[in-house]
Amino acid sequence: VGARASAIGIVGRMTLLLVGGLVAGIAAALVVRPLWERRDRTVLAGIVATTAAIVLLGPTLAIEVSETLRFVRLELADAGVPRNVDPPLSEQLVDAVRQELAAGERWAVVTPTGYCQEDELAYQWLAFRLHPAPPGCAAPDVTVYAGVRPPGDAVVVRQVTDGAVAR
């Protein structure tokens, strides 16, 4: 199932790139065609560069449209995540920890990758999302467990489907 989904993803992506390139190619042709009559080499060099830029821009914009739709689907309004990478925490979990943090309190995050900076993306992403509450991995007031079961001695104060907030 995974291989089939991956194949569909690759085909979809290739189609997206081709359509983007095709549309951009047509646009480039319409725009630069009148200039081809020029005999000046500097203009011709410029035409080649502009045509290449526009044709390559088509697939690039197609990818960005796809990325933007992914952000919308994931309900990411504040910070994005790298391509092909899932958000380190669900919006539910981000909301839960925001509600739990009091003014002046510090937090730490635990994910399957590790504790705090060991998971660079989760740490920095959450630091941005939770600002002004700073990280405090040495002595956190609140610890977020994302995709990880809290230890037995942790006092879980909020629980969502993909994680928990503990004190």
């Binding site: 821009l57 952000f71 790298p82």
Partner: protein, 443 residues
């Protein structure tokens, strides 16, 4: 709704003030003026933040814009009149408009997308908006060390004002749209500038401005394109327009220096190259250099007094590189930069076209060409001495950092064709419009 109003205010008001710095046709004034307004607002915000002025994210930009609005008419630069819009130019500009609208629509639905966009620039904008200054934990607490507190604050200061006006830091789209506006101002200014020089110049600058790798950065939240736009527009004014009216160029170059650390080095490289290769512009270049240093000085003092370290400098200080290691790395770093700029899907098409133009028409804008090459060599040198892991450093940044030097290359090529280039000894003021269809570009 409040975010939308904040966005409109931060776009319209600085642009109206910035346009007071320019005379001539409205479109070019709009482009250059928009960028000047952003720099005025950002510098005002930075200084107010550093001085601890109450409500600095709001009061600072207002003060900067009021002062800038008063100074503007005294230092006004006339950018001249645009030639009638030829059909071929109309098609090109229409396509750029379509690209701009597409980017704006995408930006409306996007968070701050790029990792460094939110981890560095927008994080500091949030901190500035929240605390009204640069003394909060994001700038001082080691837990935020990854955010590079020493990086210049112009982009974060402008974004902080936007966050504060919007009354919320939970949505990235106003910042994204603002960055598209920033790009659009640069495109308007550069296309207005290029249209006076003819079709070849317009094509070269457009192929840089709509290069896929540049456009992607526009909606990622990075500071590289904003810095490049300020740098190119400042360089275009400094090297081509009336040397007697150098203040707008100086402000734009100072803005580039206050947007990224390498922006400071590139701005000074432009100034030095113009001073050496255009003797009649030495006074203007000296003014631009002084403005760049003066505008950067408060931030440099803050970084120095606050003992905020730059990770590259700190690494080099802790473990000075051995000369032999640097020599061994130089060819590798050079090859990495060369690969990046000649790789066709990224920048190869632009570099090829610029090379052809420079060979065929002659590198008449030598100052800009030297600045472009110096910019590329600067990154070769940085990669050669970097204390960070070499591969990690190169892979994580090379695609973005070459944007500005390659923009200077495109500008150098564009300034080598068409009319209006001042001689080494002469002092052409405002470039005159080229004929509607130039048949002998470069002569």
């Amino acid at each position: 709704l409040r975010a939308a109003v904040a966005l409109v205010i931060t776009v319209v008001v600085p642009t109206m003030v910035g346009m007071r710095w320019f005379g001539g046709d409205a479109v070019t004034r709009l482009g250059f003026g928009g960028l000047v307004g952003i720099v005025l607002a950002g510098v005002g915000a930075m200084i107010a933040g550093l001085l601890g002025v109450p409500a600095a994210p709001i009061s600072g930009p207002i003060a900067g814009l009021v002062i800038g609005g008063l100074i503007g008419p005294r230092v006004r630069l006339d950018v001249g009149r645009l030639p009638p819009l030829a059909d071929e130019h109309r098609r090109l500009l229409l396509l750029v408009l379509v690209i701009g609208v597409a980017l704006a629509l995408l930006a409306l639905a996007r968070p701050v997308a790029g990792w460094d966009g939110w981890a560095i620039w927008s994080l500091k904008a949030k901190a500035f908006a929240a605390t009204g200054g640069f003394a909060g934990p994001v700038f001082t607490d080691p837990v935020y060390a990854y955010a590079h507190a020493d990086y210049p604050p112009l982009l974060s200061a402008v974004q902080g004002a936007l966050y504060r006006l919007a009354g919320s830091t939970d949505a990235g789209w106003p910042l994204q749209v603002h960055l598209v506006w920033w790009w659009a101002c640069g495109v308007l200014a550069l296309t207005g500038f290029a249209r006076r020089r003819g079709t070849a110049a317009l094509l070269l600058l457009l192929s840089w401005a709509v290069a896929p790798h540049l456009v992607r950065q526009v909606i990622s939240g990075y500071a590289d394109v904003p810095m490049a736009m300020l740098l190119l527009c400042g360089a275009a004014l400094l090297s081509q327009m009336s040397p007697a009216r150098w203040a707008p160029a100086a402000l734009l170059l100072a803005g580039a220096g206050l947007t990224k650390n390498e922006g400071l080095l590139l701005a000074l490289a432009v100034v030095a190259a113009v001073a050496v290769w255009h003797p009649e512009r030495r006074r203007a270049a000296a003014g631009a250099a002084a403005a760049t240093v003066v505008v950067f000085a408060p931030w440099a003092a803050f970084v120095w007094l606050g003992e905020i370290s730059n990770d590259v400098v700190a690494g080099l200080t802790a473990q000075p590189p051995v000369a032999l290691d640097i020599l061994a790395r130089l060819p590798v770093a050079f090859a990495a930069v060369l690969r990046e700029v000649v790789w066709a899907p990224r920048w190869g098409f632009l570099v090829l076209a610029c090379s052809i133009v420079l060979v065929w028409a002659g590198a008449r804008a030598r100052g800009l060409l030297v600045a472009a090459l110096a910019g590329l060599m600067l990154f070769v040198a940085i990669y050669a001495i970097t204390p960070r892991d070499f591969d990690w450093h190169v892979e994580g940044s090379i695609d973005r950092v070459v944007t500005a030097p390659l923009g200077l290359l495109a500008l150098a090529a564009a300034c080598s064709v068409g009319r209006g280039l001042p001689s080494r000894t002469g002092s052409t003021a405002v470039p005159s419009p080229p004929p509607a269809r130039e048949g002998s570009v470069g002569t």
